[in-house]
Amino acid sequence: MKYLLIMQVNPEILDALSDDERKLVMDGHGEFMKTVQDSGEFILTQALGDPANSAVVTGTGGTPAVTDGPFLEAKEHMGGFYLIDCESKERAIEIAKMIPDTRIKGLSIEIRPVMFSCGADL
């Protein structure tokens, strides 16, 4: 069963971290990746640029409208994700708890099941 572990990021919280805390998170991601790679549950990860770099194409009923900047001015946004393949939702939750973000107050991981897959290496 495939799950997308979505890292919900709050820039205010990230900005308030000390250099040591940020290093701890970065190193933690390396360790985390090694753990899920070793277990044969890891598929893919991507970290996303800040939404300040986004462009949004919106359907208007006619020619789509293009705007610069984030989709929504929200407190939180998707900072990146891990795609994993594991036994059950319970196991996906267990894996998400290993992501270092979950040790920082206010950051969270959303766990969403995958419904359809297609890809060059699948």
């Binding site: 890891f42 393949d85 594991c86 359809f116 297609c118 699948l122």
Partner: protein
């Protein structure tokens, strides 16, 4: 390589691996050696013909690879530790068929070792017993080959030194793994791909193999029959990417040969004694498959069987099915009352099937507004695209 040779190699693979592991232990090294022997055969046999004793040929070649491997390992250690290690020599291949039966069975038990997670048991079984390549397994499960290769390698490490089990108490785990493989093939949605190994077909192939090994086991027969009778409806189960429920399926599209085989299996085993959950489910499937329509289905019999199943192997999914049968026999109100007993059951709370069945029974009862609400809720919860499309269409009617 011809399809015949490929089939032959795949059917011999578990027997050969089982023989080697029972002689030498060391699952990992034996598995590599067997893969090499299979490869050698796939190159040589089409050219030179199939040897008169193909299993013996493979055991000999794989045994030789194993000896080579141990020699080079020993040489390496000697260089490192200056300690010599004499490689064990393979005894001559024996062709005692009962020995092969035991070896293959024990190999299956090993692949379904309780120390392994379900996905690892599945992957190892398909590879070591099913004779599929890692790439084929990865492709079938829609994960990259690197992920599957690592999963298999980790699984082999986990069972290293676990010993070769023989207890029949492992059989339920094996049947569970085969059932998982079958269901994965039945539910996974992906882009169209003719090259993809059909997991449902693989599961049936493996179940046939286990049945040959354990011809007297009623649950093995039951599982094989359940798979055949379910898979027989495959062609009628969806149209243009939309699920077609049992009641609306074109029964002319059902696979008659598979139904006959499944029904014969059930009929052959049923009178013999205690009836387990797989055989019960197969019996229910047989009633559906033999009925000319939903109206002419013997729902009273189906209901009795679900009651037995719910008593002997209680499970909210069984209660759901029992609710449908109850509605067909005693009317939707009674079915809905039975469904209400599942409210608050954590094992099924939030599962789309609960909402879908409730919607269906409300629909039957003529409570269309409520039915629509539950169809929509079920559509939001399901993880199957054809199912979602079906539920949305029901909701918009």
């Amino acid at each position: 390589m011809s399809a015949e040779i490929e089939d032959l190699l795949r059917s011999l693979a578990p027997q050969v691996l089982g023989t080697l592991v029972s002689r030498h232990g060391q699952f990992e090294a034996c598995e590599d050696a067997v893969q090499e022997a299979l490869f050698a055969a796939s190159v040589q046999w089409p050219e030179e013909g199939v040897p008169s004793r193909p299993a013996g040929w493979l055991v000999t070649v794989a045994g030789r690879r194993l000896t080579d491997y141990w020699r080079s390992e020993a040489a390496r250690r000697e260089r490192e530790l200056t300690v010599s290690m004499e490689p064990p020599l393979s005894p001559p291949p024996d062709d005692d068929p009962s020995r092969h039966v035991d070896d293959t069975l024990r190999l299956l038990f090993l692949c379904c070792h309780p120390k392994l997670s379900a996905p690892s048991q599945v992957a190892l079984t398909l590879r070591a017993v099913g004779g599929l390549t890692t790439a084929q397994i990865a492709h079938a499960f829609l994960v990259p080959e690197a992920t599957m290769a690592q999963r298999i390698s980790r699984a082999k490490q986990t069972i290293r030194g676990a010993g070769f089990p023989d207890g029949p108490e492992r059989l339920p785990a094996v049947l569970q793994v085969l059932y998982l493989i079958f269901n994965e093939g039945y539910t996974a949605t992906s882009g169209p791909d003719l090259q993809r190994v059909e997991l449902a077909t693989e599961a049936i192939r493996l179940a046939r193999q286990v049945r040959r090994l354990l011809p007297d086991d009623a649950e093995v027969a039951g599982l094989l029959a359940l798979m055949l009778l379910t898979d027989a409806r495959g062609a009628a189960r969806s149209a243009d990417g939309v699920l077609v429920p049992l009641a609306e399926q074109d029964r002319g599209l059902w696979n008659r040969a598979q139904i006959e085989e499944g029904v014969a299996l059930v009929a052959g085993v049923l009178p013999k004694g205690p009836v387990g959950p797989y055989l019960l489910q197969a019996t229910i499937a047989a009633i559906h498959d033999e009925a000319p329509s939903t109206e002419k289905t013997d729902w009273a019999e189906v209901l009795i069987l679900y009651k037995i199943l719910d008593r002997t192997a209680p499970n909210p999914m069984v209660t759901l099915n029992r609710a449908i049968a109850t509605a067909m026999v005693h009317g939707p109100a009674e079915g809905l009352a039975l469904l209400a007993t599942l409210d608050g059951d954590k094992r099924i709370a939030g599962h789309y099937r609960l909402e879908a069945v409730r919607a269906h029974l409300l629909d039957l009862a003529g409570a269309y507004d409520q039915a629509r609400e539950h169809y929509l809720r079920a559509a939001r919860l399901t993880l199957s695209l054809p199912e979602r499309e079906y539920l949305l269409r029901k909701a918009s009617r």
